[in-house]
Symmetry: C2
Subunit: 477 residues, 2 copies
């Protein structure tokens, strides 16, 4: 979808207001015409079926953003599904309830013509070409990126397992007996052995140098879901006690179809398992619960309202959320820098705001974690603002000059390397201002109490970073 | 129960720790012996049945505090039922989830022998007797107290209706077409006409001069519930569109039996009606929902988790709560001083912390409301701390000298009249400190947004007191 936006010369598509009558619409964007067309015949369809029906009607000439049944119901655990290079609705803008926002406007989706004719002619310049080559060289030589290219994000399973941070049985353990089944290596081997539609290397956008995605097939080689990623393996796999990657992939597909975030879904199901509504490891029953989402039955509704509300509703104290957003697949007691990010990121518990697990430090020791989280959060905010993939940071974070040179050659600017850092700080300060105006204050920048009180096996870790330290992380912003 | 505590010379009964094994207990207190006795045979019983079974076993010689099925399940909308002078479990310490606290300790109840022999001999003194007489004279001459004595708190229905503050259809209107059916006068006449077990005047404690309680009978004169109070008539009556006081009384009885707060229950049911799960006015279906509470079915669970969580779960924006506690029966847009109390009281939205509707001011005008709420909150905190009925305030608030003289003669103290005010301030500052330590800050001292954005018919009022003003109410404490 982002490719198509660039080709159309669009930096953003803003939907103001909302449909007042009881009708649903698609926004259809061609270069010569923008129109709202009825979506009433698509209501109740999942993301995959919606895409299929639209492609049947219009051919494959549109990139799509759609919502599934979760977004239609304005469930707060609902994201947007974006089609990938192969017209799969498997790219989720999963977190933060964006599906509910689009659903509240009664917009079922956006169709964006792929054949835009916009071109930034500066990309033809020798200057740009020289910078691009230098940039690619740095990326292609990075060891971390080589791992991602080969094993994808699933490679993180054993990293988290080793450090004792793999969420297991609703964040009550940091290692999972079935972790090796879910590991990057096992996923890689399964895809290779099974062949068929499986792919160990796939790009999520044209021109990607990393190609960390995959296509996960069943035993007969038929695609179950694409991609199958680490956070899903952690939250739907180990956190629910499911060690069979086929089951994780099936649940992932259902989540994508309904438009549910797999992290938030795994968190909510984990809380339900702790409350005794379903047994850890019972993939079949977890799927039965998910099937209740489109029907708005109460177990489905809990999933749809996410981990925090499920825990409140069921009175479960072990609720792994910050700002009502479920933590991703790093227990904060075992990767403390990421815990600092969970607590202090303006967007709630999320690794993408500042993951620290790949830093060469002692993740169990609280020393310097606030400082490291701050560094990561500022860099990531800058990369997110620029629209750069955060995985590039492993290669380019230490080369802000190259990133800035790319921008300068592309837009005719004269930015200095400090710009990256300043952009990150500006972004976070704007986010914090937004939160403040929305009534979110420092009492919300907190890791839940149970992480302080319950030790995490096997390394017997607790959350021991003081609230006071957390409050100081962005005092200057 | 409080009578029996005084006779036993007890100022407080403190339960520390909790039962670890899967067994339930009563705490049984006689003057010569304190013991824990098994309550396993009482689990699953409501408050009324529990009391009946205990009285059958021990005779009527104990005052009781018990929890119903709501407290057993640790539902946060659960209170404690205290027996009254007639051994009815109808006196609820309803708000704040105390039932869940006792349930978490696996204590089904406390039996306190009524025949304690403690006596404060200072009550025999001439000095005390003189002060007592002066005190009684002030109370007996107060006009507001005369209204309470005759019509009870139900008299407030038409006061709230006139000012447009009677919560109706989930706080979407301030007047209810069926208000006269629920009025103090109608309740009074029904009780008088029906006779039988009905009583228009009843004391909730021995020696009470106000006797504002009642016993509400059915058409055959058989008691439905005792007492039937204003907040219940507002939240279960008008707020749910129920105009038949018999239906309100029946629901009240069920709430008492399960141990649910009628305010929180009415709020949650109102939100469910707005979400379309039940129709406003359909008392039969509201009762069906309540019947799900002991069964832990999902509609019952919503009631049990209260208004705020129900609204989150159902995604209903019109959620009339502050600090997750449902507002009582005064819409804050129409009684703005009470709105200030809802927002700023450390204990969440509650009238008992500082009701302003009986002050001779323009309740629709925001002028001076913060000042008036502050006065009321400080006085009420003092009266609550002393264990004095807040209804006395109508008579004695302007006579702190008499209240202090009573204390001085009773305890041999030399307190000055300023003591009352200082005690109130101290109480609130301690409560605020507790909240601060619990992570509750000024962002929680807020009236929900919908009160600012939706005008309340028929007087088209909005909540227009600035957050900044709210933040200044207790700055000195």
């Amino acid at each position: 979808f982002a490719d198509s936006m660039a080709k159309m010369g669009l930096r953003a598509i803003i939907l103001e207001g909302m449909v007042k009558e009881d009708k649903w619409y698609f926004l259809k964007i061609d270069e010569e015409k923008v129109e709202f067309i009825s979506a009433d015949d698509y209501i109740g369809l999942g993301n995959y079926a919606t895409a299929k029906k639209l492609f049947k009607r219009f051919g494959n000439k549109y990139s799509l953003i759609t919502i599934g049944q979760a977004g239609e119901q304005k469930l707060i655990n609902s994201g947007l599904a974006l089609t990938d290079l192969h017209n799969r609705s498997g790219r989720m803008a999963a977190r933060g309830g964006l599906g509910a926002v689009m659903g509240s406007k009664k917009i079922k989706g956006i169709l964006l013509n792929k054949k835009g004719t916009y071109k930034n002619h500066k990309t033809d310049s020798e200057k740009f070409e020289a910078v691009r080559k230098a940039y690619h060289k740095i990326i292609n030589e990075c060891e971390r990126i080589k791992v991602l290219a080969e094993y994808g994000t699933a490679s993180t399973v054993m990293d988290a397992q080793r450090v004792g941070a793999l969420p297991t049985f609703n964040f009550s353990r940091g290692q999972f007996d079935g972790a090796e089944n879910l590991s990057g290596e096992n996923i890689y081997n399964l895809i290779k052995e099974r062949g068929g539609e499986g792919e160990n290397t796939e790009a999520c956008m044209s021109g990607c140098l990393i190609r960390c995605s995959n296509v996960f097939p069943d035993k007969k080689g038929k695609e179950i879901v694409a991609p199958l990623e680490y956070e899903t393996l952690g939250l739907i796999g180990s956190n629910l006690g499911i060690s069979d990657p086929d089951e994780v992939a099936k649940i992932n597909y259902i989540c994508n179809d309904y438009g549910l975030d797999t992290i938030e879904t795994g968190g909510a199901l984990g809380v339900m398992a702790e409350a005794g509504l379903v047994k850890f490891g019972d993939a079949k029953e977890f799927i039965n619960i998910l099937r209740e989402v489109p029907k708005n039955k109460w177990r489905g509704r809990m999933v749809g309202m996410g981990t925090g509300i499920t825990a409140k509703f069921l009175n479960i104290r072990r609720s792994p959320v910050v700002k009502n957003q479920c933590m991703s697949a790093y227990d904060p007691r075992a990767v403390k820098g990421t815990g600092v990010t969970y607590a202090t990121s303006p967007m709630g518990a999320d690794h993408t705001a500042g993951l620290t697990i790949f830093m060469p430090i002692d993740h169990h020791n609280k020393k310097d974690q606030v400082k490291i989280s701050r560094l990561m959060q500022i860099s990531r905010a800058a990369y997110d603002s620029l629209g750069l993939c955060v995985f590039l940071m492993a290669a380019t974070a230490s080369h802000p000059d190259i990133v800035v040179a790319l921008l300068n050659s592309l837009y005719g600017l004269e930015l200095k390397p400090e710009y990256i850092n300043e952009l990150g700080k500006l972004t976070i300060s704007l986010e914090k201002k937004y939160n403040k105006d929305a009534g979110i204050g420092k009492n919300d920048d907190r890791i839940p109490e149970f992480f302080k009180e319950e030790t995490l096996p096997p390394f017997d870790l607790t959350w021991d970073i003081e609230d006071k330290e957390l409050d100081e992380i962005f005092l200057d912003l």
